[in-house]
């Protein structure tokens, strides 16, 4: 255990000390000296962000349900806390037992966004754990990582002992059990890694070598250890009803990003938007049953005392029995004053009925994501919404009394022209016109439209994985093209930092050489890169120059369809042929149907969605 007196002293000096004390409702404190396996779970950002992540609550409860295993949490301390900790030589500790992270058997990171990678190094450093996997001996914790960004693990290959590809509900306990077995025998980290490399879904980077061509593209990957497979298949849970789902969540004392019950209603997505990595890697669609969800919601509300349940998924309106689910939940919750909320709404007009049902009193703002300003471009990215959908939905919501609308777009999409970009303005103006065409007696409040644009980052395992990103200058030009053409105080236009998106593009499609870039950038003081006040673009560029890394090679370059991509050895279920087909269709502005209408042969085995109904 760390020195509690020192901790108490510095807690008085930092902002929001409740980030570091644990002891929340439903947190689990076990006697770690008796535990057979000690797992430190880390979300590499601050507590307030990390506690809003559903995966944390799943794995935390999953592991702690096992009598002999302990899972404790560790987050990135905010900069004020880090400063005090370094001043006092206080090592990083877990929230539950205040034990040093380096005394755990595992340190597991969830990789949710690339710009958190420098925080991983910072967490290792604050824990006094060597950063490079090869510098860690037999007694150091095994540093592992999983989550969506692990589908291209290469940028972190230098630091991570092994990656877990795919869903964690089943494999996590398999890993811990295998570790327990090895620990009981004659422990050797190498023997353990050789053994775990045979487990489906596990990637041990050190068992592979990458050979590059002169032009820096990849020539080949060599397997260095006979137990390591050439291709790593993702892990996937077959049945979500019987799968472990948490019935409880740790309830923070301080307000966090999502301060409510997060209940996953299904996994996967049938829409096939071509820019969306989650839509590809989480296939196939698997739903939890209404009965199971009603039971889970009941228990979650009972155990947490939260007054809101958020129905989470990639596209919650697509849940096949949404009406029935909402009806049953409302019936149960009406008396308890528990609300139900739906994130990630689509522009389907039937949703208005549901919204009316769940938002009987409060008409909070609504968010829609047309993603692109023109129909042509929406076809390119296969975002299956039309202007008519938007018009119909918005017309109805204004009549029902809503007045705040947020519209999400991307700029820098493939084949985009200035006309497409200006479509963002046109759509925003259209929404404004609809509001003022709404009969006066029906509309309420003051109209507020926020259109925001993020800069498109091509991601691995999407049909756009071969495409170059727009340059930073081009992003700015397009963003200002929209901004300067919006002259209406009811409409606000904001856009994301193109510089951050450029870095994200480099890392997300990076190879093993990017490990050095991340390490050097961290050494130069980069951390919390996802926080605009901490993002040091100039430092990143300096480091790239110093290391001879060409950022444009990773971010801006159009790849040949036959090029060996750094992540090709991962098998996400969706085939490369399908991605190529989708890529070619996108250039021809051809849309692909929702999987529920017809099967598109994406390569997923055992999918139940083969055009099964609609």
């Amino acid at each position: 255990m760390i020195n509690i007196k020192t901790l108490d002293k510095i807690l008085k000096k930092v902002e929001k000390p409740a980030r570091y004390i644990g002891m929340e409702q439903n947190s689990i404190e076990k006697d770690i000296s008796n535990a057979k396996v000690k797992f430190a779970f880390s979300f590499p950002d601050i507590y307030d962000v990390g506690m809003s992540h559903l995966g944390l609550h799943i794995l935390y409860n999953l592991i702690n349900n096992e009598k002999d295993y302990v899972c404790e949490r560790v987050f990135a301390p905010w900069t004020d806390m880090e400063e005090e900790m370094r001043k006092e030589n206080l090592p990083l500790f877990t929230l539950e037992s205040k034990e040093e992270v380096k005394n755990f058997d595992f340190l597991g990171f969830t990789l949710q966004y690339e710009m958190s990678y420098t925080n991983i190094l910072n967490i290792l450093d604050l824990s006094d754990i060597p950063l490079r996997a090869k510098d860690r001996g037999d007694n150091a914790p095994l540093v592992i990582a999983g989550g969506p960004c692990a589908y291209n693990p290469e940028p972190l290959a230098e630091f991570i002992d092994f990656f877990v590809i795919g869903e964690g509900e089943e494999i996590t306990l398999e890993i811990l059990k295998l570790y327990e077995k090895h620990k009981a025998e004659n422990w050797s980290k190498d023997r353990f890694l050789e053994d775990i490399a045979t487990m489906e879904g596990i990637y041990v980077p050190k068992f592979y070598q990458v050979v590059y061509n002169e032009d820096n593209t990849i020539k080949e990957r060599k397997v260095l250890n006979s137990t390591a497979p050439e291709k790593i298949k993702k892990r996937m849970v077959k049945d979500l009803n019987t799968m472990f789902s948490p019935e409880s969540m740790v309830v923070p004392y301080i307000e966090t990003v999502h301060d409510r019950v997060i209940m996953e209603i299904f996994r996967g997505c049938t829409r096939g938007c071509r820019f969306c990595q989650a839509g590809m890697i989480y296939r196939p669609v698997r739903e939890k049953s209404v009965d199971r969800l009603v039971e889970l919601a009941e228990n979650l509300v009972e155990n947490t005392g939260y007054e809101n349940v958020s129905l989470s998924s990639l596209s919650s309106c697509d849940y096949s029995e949404l009406h029935l689910l909402i009806e049953k939940l409302m019936e149960n919750f009406e008396e308890k004053k528990v609300g139900v909320s739906l994130p990630s709404l689509r522009l389907d007009s039937f949703i208005v009925d549901i919204l009316q049902e769940i938002e009987k009193v409060r008409k909070s703002g609504l968010t829609f994501a047309p993603e692109a300003g023109s129909q042509r471009l929406r076809d390119v990215i296969n975002k299956g919404v039309t202007e008519e959908d938007l018009v119909n939905t918005v017309t109805r919501i204004f009549r029902e009394g809503w007045s705040t609308v947020k519209l999400y777009f991307m700029i820098g999409l493939p084949t985009e022209t200035d006309e497409d970009v200006l479509g963002i303005r046109d759509l925003a103006y259209k929404v404004k016109d609809i509001f003022f065409e709404t009969p006066k007696e029906q509309r309420k409040g003051n109209l507020k439209i926020t259109a925001s644009a993020s800069c498109f980052v091509p991601k691995p395992f999407t049909p756009f994985q071969w495409l170059g990103q727009d340059s930073i200058e081009e992003f700015y030009r397009k963003a200002y093209l929209v901004k300067n053409n919006i002259k209406d105080n009811k409409i606000k236009f904001t856009f994301h930092d193109p510089k951050l998106s450029y870095l994200e593009a480099i890392i997300s499609r990076g190879d093993r050489k990017i490990s050095e870039l991340i390490l050097k950038a961290w050494e130069m003081g980069c951390k919390f890169d996802g926080w605009s006040e901490h993002f040091k673009y100039d430092t990143w560029i300096e480091v790239m120059e110093e290391l001879g890394i060409d950022g444009d090679f990773y971010a801006l370059r159009n790849r040949d369809l036959e090029e060996n991509l750094p992540w090709d050895f991962i098998d996400p279920g969706v085939s490369k042929e399908y991605l190529k087909r989708e890529y070619n269709k996108s250039l021809g502005e051809k849309i692909t149907d929702d999987c529920r209408i017809s099967c598109n042969a994406c390569g997923i085995v055992d999918c139940t969605m083969r055009g099964y109904k609609f």
Binding site: L11, K12, M23, Y253, G305, K336
Partner: protein, 208 residues
């Protein structure tokens, strides 16, 4: 506040809710503590629909963390609030002296004999800062040295609390630090609220 709100839900307490678009449970904490101050006892007003006090305490304590427990409760008439009842708070303050350790106790008594101890109070109104000078001497009920051990000092003090005059222990120490030139490390100070009191006819007593 958040802890209690969630606990009401979890313990299924029939608490009254405010009307309006955004109903929130009707309860209030008397003299909420500043962040980083420990406390031995706190008082809360809660509006309940048909529930016995004993029943309430039992249900709440099952759900509340072991370090935050309800000790006692009493039904009161509507309109009477704990906030208006409490007018004094007792604190124990511990800190380390860096300078002027010698004769600290006497100096403190001398300091207390002043008629006026003024501090600057800064209020933020929109973006403007409004500075106001306040005499805090009348807000100090008493102040005694409990212990001096080498550089370590423990003080006991009774300070005005509530809507009819309020003095934060931090402001008291800051004024002491300034006037007596003590160079206290204010950030490593330990403050504990040991009690809260009502006052009637020059008597002070526990509100319950």
């Amino acid at each position: 506040m958040r802890l209690f709100h969630r606990t009401f839900n979890k313990a299924k307490i029939p608490i009254g809710y405010s009307e309006g678009f955004n109903p929130h449970p009707k309860f209030s904490i008397a003299n909420p503590l500043a962040l980083g101050i420990e406390s031995d006892e706190e008082y809360i007003d809660i509006e309940l629909d048909n529930m016995e006090v004993e029943d309430f305490i039992e249900k709440m304590n099952l759900v509340l963390p072991k370090d935050v427990q309800i000790i006692e409760g009493k039904s009161i008439e509507k309109g009477e609030t704990i906030d208006s009842l409490i007018s004094w708070a007792h604190y124990e303050i511990e800190f380390e002296l860096k300078e002027n350790i010698e004769g600290f106790g006497e100096n403190l008594m001398k300091w207390l004999q002043r008629d006026e101890i003024n501090i600057d109070k800064i209020r933020r109104k929109k973006k403007k800062e409004i500075k106001r000078v306040e005499n805090i001497r009348p807000l100090i009920g008493n102040l005694t040295v409990k212990e001096i051990h080498e550089k370590n000092v423990v003080l006991n003090t009774l300070l005005k609390a509530g809507s009819n005059g309020n003095l934060k222990p931090m402001d008291l120490v800051e004024a002491m630090n300034r006037d007596m030139e003590l160079k206290i490390d204010l950030q490593s100070m330990d403050i504990r609220r040991t009690g809260q009191y009502a006052e009637k006819d020059n008597n002070i007593f526990k509100p319950l």
